[in-house]
Amino acid sequence: MTDHSLPEGFADLERFVPEWVQPDAEHRLAKRLSTDMDAIKAFYGAMLARGEAALAWLRGHELGTLPPEGENLLRLMLMLAEVAPAVEWYNDQRVYDGFPVERLRYIHQISDTAAQV
């Protein structure tokens, strides 16, 4: 990674790259399940504070045209979506008293970065 793996203005989030940049939803779930809650909360807190700014940047960019640092920023935000229930609903990586989510197989995914229209 270079020292510019995220768009300008997001240097404070560089410390989450590449660890929290996962290639798809299945890997994001695996990352959530394999990370302890202190680390999840640190990521969640830092990302939430920059959430509106990150979405403002992402709103100005169409899927299919993202530069590599934009893809990284989007994937950090997708990871925020993945860990949100762990922090906001369960205070646990896992769904509280839930069906074991690792028994769920991903059959079809929406691309993280490809154009959809």
């Binding site: 100005g60 934009g70 229930p85 059959i107 959809q116």
Partner: protein, 413 residues
Amino acid sequence: MNEMAKPPVPGIGITAKYPEIGTGPCDTAIYHEPEIYEKEMAAIFRRSWYMIGRVEQIPKSGDFFTYYLPTFRLEVLVCRDRHGEVNAFHNVCTHRGNVVEHRREGHSSGLFVCRFHGWSFDLEGNLAKIRDEEGFFGVDKACNGLKPIPMGIWEGFIWVCPEDEPYQSLEDFLGDQGRDTAGYPWGACSQFYQTEAEVNCNWKLVNDSPAEVYHIPVLHPKSAAPTMMASGNVMGRLLDTRVRGNHRTNSHYSVLGEPKPVQKLAYFHAAAAQNVVQEQLDYEMPVGINPTRSPFWTVDLIMFFPTIAFTLSAGMYTAHQVWPLGPNKSIYQQRVFVRPARTAAERFGQENTMVEFRDIVMEDFSTLERIQRALDSGQIKQFHYHDHEMALRHQHHVVTRILADYDREQAAA
């Protein structure tokens, strides 16, 4: 989203609208007895239609996908032919029975070539070429094309029937429920996540799981409950349950509570689809969706008996599908359909939608294998259904009625 100050709290009285369904406790035998399951296979499953995909998955001539119907152990190949028509075949080579197309999806240049001995079939299913044909003893190519499987399309969904001669047409199978929900922009939600899991329970328990909201305040205290119990609906009651033949729809009461922080980002900065409100619709809501026309509506659970239900809101929907494998074993498939994202911010909204629905279903499914153990061991012989668990009572009524009709049919034959 619903800003009226004091919405009315839903009352009791859904079950009373359908007196033929009754109010007493229901015998649980249909949830576990192997002989009943075998009878269901003949009387219900072989006579039904099954959704296996959407037309948007194969937009161009030559596009295809394959699908395995686990309940019937049938391999199916769906493709768009040279005339733009959708065709569905048994995905079985007529030479020795291997699958003709082994990939899950893709594009064919015009021939499906079996990877066993190289027999090839065109997009209309004709046997085009037998490799080294002179070594055979008069195989008639005209009689050895791919075997079509009965197929129909409703609102862009591709359905197949496992019987060569369907018991009823797809249109009759879908009935009023299909007519009353046509016109929703099913095809506009062209992006989807699909997941599946094997669950050790009877197929009806999978259907039951989202089909009552009596459990919402208890099983989903942090996730679904805050909106569905808001504004005084502390018992988490429904607006209505509407029965149409074997099918049914639950209409969910919901008032927007205070969103959680990441939900707030998704709803207000990333156009998350579960938050589309009725006032923003770019289509006319069909009569079978939010049938009571309540301003406090957010979600319908639209069930097409026996195996598929849609959790549908104004801007997106989730398909819940169960494939029975035995009296106490099923496969659950979930597809979360959302509208295409243009910007990268909207992609975040899609992910928030998928993660929320997945985790809420994991909350629901915590109960299924536990209930099945209690059924299999004989620890629970009756279910007592609440007025707002009417959908489960209706399913019990429909299954019991069909099995009794089938018994009479067999006795008369």
